[in-house]
């Protein structure tokens, strides 16, 4: 019967459509998690030295910072110490030594700084950068990290136990009271500084602050930096998240140092000051409980 044949053809056609529609599915049996392309990041480019260096000799650290766009970062804040340009904080792997260096920024954002590594071992280099903040989505400040190896046998030194008093350059730095530090809790340490003969130290402003407190976690070498600001130093702040831990000085010989240790454990505090025309570093050992 012709009409019925036509009808059969229509049904067959529709069935074929269902079959055709079934074609073309992907072959994978599992839920496919999407591939995520690498993110655009700030990174150190052409960092030198790439090879191990010699202890006790000047070594030039040099690099540029690549922006997420791939272009080198060339516009840095020029004003407003202590937050300007690029600072280098260099820490020995055993937490026994820290140095805080400024750096020169050349054309095209090329950063260089001669540095002397005192002893063999591995050193973590913290590059603390302050861009000019030309666009709203640019960070005000960020840190990048890398390592430099110094030739020779590495003999790690044990971290000394906590002592409230350390001496540096003939000056006596003494933590007042019995500080009880807890991770993620902002607090202030009062440190009394006296010179030869017990005279109270007169702090000089250095890199926009009366003192720089550099905290390094033993083991992870995590880094945290606060300032002791002189009155009227409008750009001198120390803010971590919602916590303001900007230190102050109530007079000669007295520093109130802001502390906010982000994780428990042993921390080294390197208190950097400028007294009598000399840079002094007072290292303390601190314990933070959970």
């Amino acid at each position: 019967m012709r009409p019925m044949r036509r009808l059969s053809t229509v049904i067959l056609g529709l069935t074929a459509l269902v079959g055709l529609a079934a074609c073309g599915g992907s072959g994978s049996g599992a839920v496919s998690v999407p591939k995520v392309a690498p993110a655009g990041t700030y990174r150190l480019q052409n960092f030198q030295p790439a090879a191990p260096v010699v202890a006790g000799r000047p070594t030039v650290l040099s690099f540029t910072i690549q922006q997420p766009s791939g272009q080198p970062l060339s516009a840095y804040r020029k004003c407003c110490e202590p937050h300007a340009g690029v600072d280098l904080i260099i820490v020995r792997a055993d937490d026994s030594h820290v140095q805080y260096d400024d750096s020169d920024i050349g054309s095209g954002g090329h950063v260089s700084q001669p540095v002397v590594f005192p002893t063999p071992g591995r050193y973590r280099v913290v590059v603390d950068a302050y861009p000019a903040h030309t666009t709203p989505d640019q960070p005000l400040n960020f840190q990048l990290f890398t390592w430099v190896t110094v030739k020779g046998a590495y003999h790690p030194r044990p971290v000394p136990a906590y002592t409230p008093t350390v001496t540096s350059g003939g000056y006596r730095f003494q933590i007042q009271g019995h500080p009880s530090l807890k991770a993620i809790q902002a607090t202030f340490l009062t440190i009394r500084v006296t010179g030869p003969g017990g005279r109270l130290a007169v702090f000089e402003s250095w890199r926009g602050a009366l003192a720089h407190a550099i905290f390094i976690h033993q083991g992870s070498l995590d880094y945290f930096h606060t300032h002791v600001c002189s009155p009227g130093a409008s750009y001198c702040t120390s803010v971590l998240g919602a916590a303001r831990v900007t230190g102050s000085s109530s007079g000669p010989g007295v520093l109130h140092v802001g502390v906010l240790l982000p994780e428990p454990g042993t921390w080294r505090l390197f208190l950097l000051t400028h007294i009598g025309g000399r840079y002094l570093t007072a290292p303390f050992t601190l314990k933070a409980s959970a």
């Binding site: 069935t15 269902v18 529609a21 994978s28 839920v31 998690v33 690498p38 993110a39 994780e263």
Partner: protein, 576 residues
């Protein structure tokens, strides 16, 4: 019409209007652990995402990648035992310091996929936040495969119901009145349509589930357990079950029917009534599974949808049946038989078309928040195409109504008119069948698209359009100067919103400023935030309010200390 009929009709309409009118929105992320942009001091053991509804973990993706794009999850997404609305994914232990991107995708209860992304950091020294490239998975339900299977499902289900009605109610007398006529061809067409519907419905569900769960359509072993995982999937399963019951009831009704008798037996009446009730139940399900059930007032939209489906079924199935009957009839019986069937079908078709147009307009008015949504949105454009095809079908149908029908009736007295009238009828009905199946395809497209949300109507009162990217825009309203700052204006990220209000160059202090967020491109819950005055005349708030990529209506309600309150609406495009 009697008073009693009016009362019953009025009561039914009233019942429809007072039915629950809660609109179901898409799943919405209400809490994350870790929080967006949070800097942690140690790596968390897992990622926890809490939604406003219980989303299905087997459909969900939670991707955690580092700045290099490496995946950091160690197992599948699963539901929290403490909270069914929370999904968890385990992470590699002790992830190193740095920033991580969380991309998530989930399927809402209504079957629509939603997705978003945010970042968190492991510190204390995570470094600068990278510029992550957020992936995006196509969330469309309008792939060719889905549209074809959905269309075939509609054609099968609606065609079967229409063919059954034609077979048992409209064409039945022809067997008695014209000797040698049988309805066997219509029965075969009905069986074929019902088989098509029975096959196409689970195939569509398989395709839809595969699309949602990002699996192959051939991965049936994995897909079948997921069929009932969403409300949409459950509704399609119900459709298949109801339709199967209807087919069974209809086959029984056709089997017991004796069309050569004028009066039906009790068995015939019972079987036919049962099958018709089953058909009515089948036609409720597509609306309950689709947007009709999500649009307020729910009762009214469901009623419109049911009427629309019923009228469309009668028209589509009836036309198909008429064509099959024409083809199956011998030359001798054709004109007498058509003289009986065509006038009866014309009356039904005419009423169906009126109902179809009326309910379609009602649905469009209900679903479209503004007139310009008709040409500015894909949903509105699909309505226009469907309406255009309906107009063409009506033109063809008018040819049948005005030319074929009167001539077939006149052929009883003047036999020479019969053959040309039947020929014209076949050509016109063939064309009408093609156009009506096209209308059903347009309906398949339409029902696959989400209608524009009520917030779409906000577009007409916006003072400005801003974004994507950081926003710095000034508008004037009610004598005030408003400077809007949005940074970074990214979806699924904590954004900062600031409004500087000045009047005659002076900051407006002490105003009460609230900011509401309405997504204009998708149905999402409205969010409202109070802004705090952080500097004289500057009101700010940081919030992860732009939860999805798309256009958002930012409405500032401003109540100055002196002077009348006013509002300002700005449309903001947020990208990933």
């Amino acid at each position: 019409m009697s008073l009693r009929v009016w009362i019953v009709g009025g009561a039914a309409l009233g019942a429809c209007l007072v039915l629950p009118s809660a609109a179901i929105a898409h799943a919405y992320l209400v809490k994350t652990v870790p929080a967006a942009s949070q800097e942690l001091n140690s790596s968390p053991p897992n990622i926890q995402l809490t939604y406003d509804e219980a989303v299905e973990p087997r459909f969900a993706i939670i991707s955690v990648t580092n700045a290099q794009g490496q995946q950091e999850t160690t197992g599948p997404v699963h539901r929290s035992s403490a909270n069914p609305d929370t999904l968890l994914v385990p992470l590699r232990p002790h992830l190193p310091e740095g920033w991580y991107l969380i991309y998530w995708r989930a399927i809402s209860v209504d079957g629509h996929p939603v997705q978003g992304a945010f970042t968190y950091a492991v510190g204390p020294n995570p470094g600068p936040a990278p510029q992550f490239r957020v992936p995006s998975i196509s969330a469309t339900a309008t792939t060719p495969q889905l549209l074809i299977t959905r269309w075939l499902m509609f054609v099968g289900v609606m065609g079967a119901i229409g063919l059954f009605v034609l077979r048992v109610l409209i064409a039945r007398p022809v067997v008695r009145r014209v000797a040698g006529v049988s309805l066997r061809a219509v029965t075969i067409a009905f069986v074929s349509a019902s088989l098509l519907g029975l096959v196409a419905t689970p195939v569509y569900l398989d395709f839809s589930t595969a699309n949602d769960s990002l699996r192959s359509v051939f991965d049936v072993g994995a897909l079948v357990p997921l069929f009932g995982a969403t409300a949409f999937g459950r509704a399609i399963l119900k459709l298949e079950l109801c339709f199967a019951l209807f087919c069974l009831a209809a086959w029984i009704a056709i089997w017991v029917e004796r069309p050569e008798r004028e009066r039906r037996s009790v068995a015939e009446l019972g079987a036919t009534l049962g099958a018709l009730l089953a058909a009515a139940a089948v036609l409720v399900v597509p609306g309950a599974a689709g947007h009709a059930a999500q649009t307020a007032p729910r009762g009214l939209t469901l009623a419109f949808d049911w009427l629309h489906m019923a009228a469309g079924s009668l028209w589509l199935g009836g036309l198909g049946g008429l064509l099959v009957l024409w083809l199956a009839l011998g030359q001798r019986e054709r004109v007498p038989a058509l003289s009986v069937v065509v006038p009866r079908f014309s009356a039904v078709a005419f009423a169906s078309v009126l109902v179809l147009a009326g309910s379609g307009i009602g649905e469009a008015v209900d679903h479209l928040p503004a007139l310009d949504a008709l040409w500015l949105t894909g949903y509105g454009q699909a309505i226009l195409v469907k309406s255009g095809l309906l107009a063409v079908a009506l033109l063809i149908a008018s040819g049948n109504l005005l030319r074929s029908r009167p001539r077939l009736l006149a052929a009883v007295q003047r036999p020479e008119l019969g053959a040309p009238a039947a020929g014209l009828l076949r050509r016109l009905v063939s064309g009408e069948v093609v156009v009506v199946t096209g209308i059903v395809f347009a309906a398949a497209v339409l029902s696959s698209l989400a209608p524009p949300p009520p917030a779409f109507a906000l577009q007409n009162s916006a003072l400005a359009r801003v974004g994507p990217g950081t926003v710095a825009r000034t508008v004037n309203r009610a004598g005030y100067r408003l400077e809007l700052l949005v940074s970074p204006n990214r979806a699924a990220a904590p954004d900062s919103f600031a409004l500087r209000i000045t009047r005659d160059g002076q900051p407006v202090r002490g105003a009460n400023v609230t900011l509401t967020f309405d997504m204009t491109t998708m149905q999402m819950p409205q969010q409202e935030y109070q802004l705090a005055e952080t500097r004289p005349g500057v009101y700010t708030r940081a919030a992860p309010a732009l939860v999805m990529v798309g256009e958002w209506g930012l409405t500032f309600q401003i109540a100055p200390r002196s002077g009348p309150p006013f509002s300002a609406l700005i449309l903001d495009q947020a990208n990933g």
